[in-house]
Symmetry: C2
Subunit: 254 residues, 2 copies
C-alpha cells in the first residue's frame, strides 16, 4: 500500500498562539503541528520571535516558523475565520458551548473541507486566554484530563488538538502494516485436521479426551488470525512429528 | 456538578520508556502522564536518572518520577503484564497486529478495569524500539500522522497515548460547563411571538413578507440553544421597542 497524502483542506485550519511567552513552546508547537499535517501558524504579540530557541525545538518544522504570520491582535488572526475554538481548562462564566476535542473536531474538519477557515486559539502559558480573547471565539474546547492536575503544557495541548484533527481525516496507518496473506477457514480447518492426526500418531490422545482438546486448539487457531505462511510452518512441523512417530525420521538419520 | 474522580483502574496501566537518552523527556513524559491520571512509570536503563532536568520539566509531577521503577531490561518491566503495546512509527516485518491508539484503547481500558496489567512501551528517542524489544510486546500501536514528517517527540507521543486512554474513561468536562437553564420550546415560541408583535408595532413588516421573515427568525432561535435568561434579556428589549412604538417611551422621558 502506498504512502497516503496529507489532505489539502488541512491548510484551512490554523493554530493561533495568543501572547506566547516562551520561544521554546512556539518551536515545539510548530513541530507538533507539522507531525499532524498542519502548516499555518499565527502568533499574536509573541514575546520573542523569531528566535534560535524556537528554531531548535521546531526540529524539522522550521518551515512552519518561517511562514508564520505575526499579528498584533487576536481579531486580526481571526478576521477571515468562521469557527474559532478557544482552548480553555478553566470554568468560564460564558455560555459559549463547551465541548471536548473529540466532540468538536468532526465539525471543524467538515467546515475546513468546505473551504471555510477554522482557528484553534491557545492562550498564554501562565494566564491562558483572557475573557476578551475568549469572547472573540465561537466555541470553547477543553481537553479532558486529570481534574486534580490539569497542567498540560502549551505545545502538548497543540499536539493533542492536532492529533485529534488528523485522526478525523481518514488517513490511517494501513500503509505501515506488514504484508501477510490471511489464511482461509478451509486452511485453518486443514491445520486442525493435520494436528489431530499428528497427535493421534504420536500417542498424545491416550488417556486424554481428544474431542475436548481439539475444540480448544481449534478455538485458539481461530482467534489467532493465522497467516498462510504461519500455517505452512506449523504443517511442516506436524509432518516432521508424523515422521518421528512412524520411525522414518530415525531411518533418515542412519 | 462536582469535580469527578480519576478512575482507580488507571493504576493498572504503566508507561515504559526503554533506554531514554534525554532526562528532559523523562520529566515531560511524567508531566504528560499525570495530566491524564497515570502514575506508574517504568524506566529501562535510562541514560541519566534521576536528574534536576527531569524534575524541572516534570513540573508538578515530580511525584511520578520519585515513584518510578528503574529496571535493567524490558522483560522485567513487562513480567506481570498481559497486554504490552509497542509504540512504533516504522514499518515492521513483524505480523503482530498494528493498530491506532483509538482502535487499541478500548481493549486496554477494559483489561485494566478487570485488574490486568497493561503497558505502553516507548523506545529510545533516536532509534525507537529494537526488534527484540518489539518482540516482547503483543500489540503494535502507531499514532497516525503526517506520512512525510513523522517526528513526534517522545513525551508528545506519551501525551497523545495517555490523552487517548483518558478519553475512554468516561470522565468528561461537564463539570467545567457554566450553569445555565435551557429554554423550553414553549419559551422560544413565546419569544418569537413577542418579536413578531414588536416588529408589527414598529412598522417593520410594511412592504416585507412577515411570514418568511418570522420563519428565518424562528429557525435562528431554534438553532441557538437559547438559555432562559437570554430570553428574558431579549423580551425586555422587545418590550422597550413596543413602548418606543406607541410613544409611551417618549412620555416617560418628559
Amino acid at each position: 500500500m502506498n504512502k497516503p497524502q496529507v489532505p489539502d483542506f488541512l491548510k484551512n485550519i490554523r493554530i493561533v498562539l495568543a501572547r506566547p511567552s516562551h520561544p521554546g513552546n512556539i518551536g515545539s508547537a510548530a513541530r507538533a503541528m507539522k507531525t499532524m499535517g498542519l502548516t499555518r501558524l499565527y502568533l499574536v504579540e509573541p514575546k520573542v520571535f523569531p528566535s534560535d530557541e524556537a528554531n531548535a525545538l521546531a526540529s524539522g518544522a522550521v518551515d512552519v516558523l518561517e511562514r508564520a504570520t505575526v499579528v498584533s491582535s487576536l481579531s486580526e488572526a481571526l478576521a477571515d475565520v468562521t469557527v474559532a475554538c478557544a482552548l480553555t481548562s478553566r470554568r468560564r462564566e460564558l455560555t459559549t458551548p463547551l465541548s471536548t476535542p473529540r466532540e468538536t473536531t468532526p465539525e471543524l474538519v467538515a467546515r475546513a473541507r468546505d473551504g471555510e477557515q477554522v482557528a484553534l486559539v491557545f492562550g498564554n502559558e501562565t494566564f491562558g486566554l483572557s475573557i476578551e480573547e475568549v469572547e472573540q471565539c465561537n466555541r470553547l474546547v477543553t481537553i479532558p484530563g486529570n481534574p486534580d492536575y490539569f497542567s498540560l503544557n502549551l505545545a502538548m495541548a497543540v499536539q493533542v488538538m492536532t492529533y485529534e484533527l488528523f485522526s478525523h481525516t481518514g488517513v490511517g496507518v494501513e500503509y505501515l502494516r506488514a504484508d501477510g496473506e490471511a489464511a482461509t477457514q478451509g486452511e485453518v480447518e486443514g491445520l486442525c485436521g493435520h494436528l489431530e492426526q499428528a497427535m493421534e500418531e504420536i500417542g498424545y490422545f491416550r488417556r486424554r479426551n481428544s474431542e475436548r482438546l481439539m475444540r480448544r486448539m481449534r478455538t485458539l487457531f481461530n482467534r489467532s488470525g493465522l497467516l498462510r505462511d504461519e500455517i505452512d510452518i506449523l504443517r511442516g512441523f506436524f509432518k516432521q512429528v508424523q515422521r518421528a512417530a512412524d520411525g522414518s525420521l530415525k531411518r533418515d538419520e542412519d
